[in-house]
């Protein structure tokens, strides 16, 4: 044991529960308060909703909660019983199961008044939201963001920008009030501020040993997803960032014996985060960065703070999952450098095709351009049936032995 460094829980964490509880309580009470609830995809443009006083609800965030409370298998099986294929994304099937009466970790989600779907993360969400729109009989808005294989053209920009105009009109119609564009700029400023803080928090792990791990990032991610554009989010991350800086100063870290630093690709395996984090820590390995949580600040570079409205199209189109494999590989290579990682673990996620599809190619590119070894493990972010303990453990053990040799 390295006596100099010690492990301690992250204190700011305790505030998360209260914030999330209040957030859901408010949403459940929306009707009484005359507020509207919108279900929105995780990569969707939430700022216009906040500016209109609409409460955004994220079925995918709910999916993460389902996974963490190990209810995935039960809900997915239920949806399969309704006729949904076992090949579908388990976030989609678990959400459908929950809205058809099967209980999730908080029972079910507050019912939507509208659905906002952005296909910048995948095409599954389009069909998923169409099904839910029919079921709840509410209006659906689909924001179509073309894939940026190699570049982002002016045409694409204009195409997406026009849809934002349509989105504003849609929101105005459903809410029966005008969009306040000054308020939208203000929400935008808060959103950018939160994204910057989130990036700074993630960057504290460039310090070795890292004051937190990717497993912590998976947890603290909830607010940048659900509450970006609000003061609550900014304040929370400000505090978290301060705590990280203090931890570095006071020699508090995630893995006191940190010898090897690893990067994680794809969504977390929500029902196994504790198991995995213990496995890695026992082997003196710290997961210092990941491509998933950093996706919520990766388009900062395309945002002009003084023109948030004009930045919406590039910011929501040029996201990690909506680009070609070469670009993704380059991003990972930059992260290898930045976080000084010794190895990469790619979760080949049965559910998430756009995330998992190019992994073998990315692995090859990384192998050719760097000497960093890449391990691919197969699982599902939510459905425990796709996880084999013995197989994954021996792969991780072998990978750690390789790092140690």
């Amino acid at each position: 044991m390295n006596m100099e460094y010690k492990k301690e829980p992250i204190k700011t964490k305790s505030k998360m529960k209260e914030i999330m509880t209040n957030y859901f309580l408010e949403a459940f009470d929306a009707k009484n308060k005359g507020k509207k609830v919108a279900w929105i995809t995780s990569g969707g443009p939430v700022e216009p909703l906040i500016a209109m006083d609409i409460i955004p609800i994220y079925p995918e965030n709910h999916g993460a909660m389902i996974g963490a409370s190990k209810l995935g298998e039960k809900l997915v099986s239920y949806a399969e019983g309704l006729g949904y294929s076992c090949d579908l994304c388990s976030y989609a099937t678990a959400d459908i199961a929950c809205s058809r009466g099967e209980k999730g970790p908080i029972g079910h989600l507050p019912e939507p008044d509208m659905l906002i779907c952005c296909n910048n993360i995948c095409s599954t969400v389009v069909k998923w939201y169409e099904i839910q729109a029919r079921y709840f009989n509410v209006p659906l808005f689909i924001l179509d963001t073309p894939m940026c294989h190699t570049n982002f053209t002016e045409d694409t920009k204009e195409y997406v920008r026009r849809q934002f105009d349509e989105l504003f009109l849609f929101l105005e119609t459903v809410c029966k009030k005008k969009m306040d564009f000054d308020r939208l700029e203000e929400v935008g400023r808060l959103s950018v501020q939160a994204q910057k803080l989130w990036q700074e928090i993630l960057d504290t792990t460039t310090h070795s040993p890292a004051p937190m791990s990717a497993f912590d990032a998976f947890f603290h991610l909830a607010l940048i997803v659900t509450l970006r554009g609000t003061e609550i989010c900014v304040n929370y991350y400000r505090e978290l960032l301060e705590e990280m800086k203090d931890r570095i100063k006071n020699k508090i870290c995630a893995v006191p014996n940190e010898k090897y630093r690893v990067l994680w690709d794809n969504l977390p395996i929500w029902y196994k985060t504790k198991w995995l984090s213990e496995k890695f820590a026992e082997r003196d390995v710290c997961l210092v960065a990941d491509t998933y949580t950093s996706a919520w600040c990766s388009s900062l570079r395309y945002i002009d703070e003084n023109d948030f409205l004009g930045s919406l199209a590039p910011a929501y189109t040029r996201i990690y999952l909506n680009q070609g494999i070469d670009t993704m590989a380059n991003e990972i290579i930059k992260m290898i450098d930045k976080y000084k990682v010794h190895g990469i673990i790619m979760h080949s996620n049965r559910s998430c095709k756009p995330y998992s599809f190019g992994q073998y190619d990315i692995q090859k590119i990384i192998r050719n351009k760097t000497k960093v070894p890449v391990l691919i493990i197969e699982a599902d972010m939510l459905d425990q049936r796709s996880f084999s303990d013995a197989q994954i453990e021996s792969r991780i053990d072998a990978f750690c032995e390789l790092l140690h040799s």
Binding site: K364, Q391, A398, E401, L402, S405
Partner: protein, 256 residues
Amino acid sequence: MLTAGIDIGSTTVKCAILKDNEIVATAIDFTGYNVKKAWQNILSKALDKAKLSTNQIDNIISTGYGRDSVDIANKKITEITCHAAGAHFLEPGVRTVIDIGGQDSKAISLAEDGRVIDFVMNDKCAAGTGRFLEVMARAMEVDLDKFGELSMVAREPVKISSLCTVFAESEVISMISQGKSREDIIAGIHRSIATRVYSMASRLDIRSPIMLTGGVAKNIGVVNALKEKLGDNLIINPYAQLNGAIGAAYLAQRQS
């Protein structure tokens, strides 16, 4: 210096004893239901052959799926690292190891000193593993040990298209009922496993010389089918099936 390596796989349990970097005894048996009994038996079998007793052994390393059950092992190391070490011990020039085990298969890329540079393993499916052959042997009602030689006289190997072991089994059964010859079906099965393993290994940079390890290396049909893909420089060492245990015993020599 005396060391022992115990490799507990899903199908067989293996033990190797090394004295000053020389193999002095090996033993192999089915794993069966009781893993603890299996390794205790195999260790005493190997010790008997070498006329040694447990307390004379300076260092024991266990490997394989059941490695954690070996409470007397000084260290537990995965089969990936042990297979690399074993191959390096048996054939120091080896750069790639392809191991077809009972329930998984793997390809390992080796550095000059026998360290693992990189590795890949089969996905969750059993196609491309020894288990696939066992299931097929049962469906064909042929002793698995005969598989190799039977396939040598095949005239027109069939094509098995199912990727899944269970579906491949029904495919084989329907071929039997269509009157296809056993030999052709068995040869087709070997090709199918070789194709699977080859495409998995291709995710690595396959460098020669390549060594095939694991019990399946005894099957000439699979070996030939793999040679069709990998070329003739596929090394089959007589100790292929014991490679993991030998690697464990060798690492135990180096780490004492």
